[in-house]
Amino acid sequence: MTAAELYEKLRPIQEAKGFYFNRDLEGMTLPLLESLLINKNRYGYMVCPCRLASGDREKDQDIICPCAYRDPDVAEYGSCYCGLYVSQAWNEGKIPRVVVPERRPPEKMFF
């Protein structure tokens, strides 16, 4: 699967839930989707490209995309930690764009 194919596959499913792909396709979304495919190949599951995976699916469960922290991040900042999923308002530039802090508790990081 290519990043573009993954984009087309996920977009309707996620948009129906109110989560939008970052509209910066070339700078953000497609490279991130490519990285998800790299991680799927590397670990067997699409773990967040911006987090260091342990390689153990159970331990990484909360950071498999869309991660457990996406919903609260998008609700609070308009964007998830890695910037793949955003709100419509964020995409339209109606809310300030900030560096989203890591919400994952350190004790969940197994390394």
């Binding site: 700078g27 790299i38 490209p49 911006c50 260091l52 995976a53 890695c82 560096v99 802090p101 890591e102």
Partner: protein, 84 residues
């Protein structure tokens, strides 16, 4: 431009890390970079311990500019640290 040593701890798949690399390249800064996710075994564990010394949460990118530690792609902070 600063002659302080610049070290970047990154993930090969992370877009913020990639943007940090691009920004440092645009600034014409020489830097030492390690993609921690591409390491394995003892080498990886040793590097994780090294990152934790500067950023206990071990998130990426972690950037060292001289003795300043910047976590995340914060362009302004990177620029300021380089200019100091």
């Amino acid at each position: 431009m600063s002659d302080k040593p610049v070290k970047l701890y990154a993930l090969s798949t992370c877009i913020h890390c990639r943007h940090t690399k691009d920004f440092l390249n645009e600034c014409g800064v020489a830097y030492d970079c390690v993609d921690v996710d591409t390491l394995q075994g003892e080498e990886r564990q040793a590097m994780i311990e090294e990152v934790k010394r500067f950023n206990p949460n071990c998130t990426f990118p972690t950037i060292l500019i001289g003795d300043k530690v910047i976590v995340g792609f914060r362009k302004d902070e990177i620029q300021e640290a380089l200019n100091q």
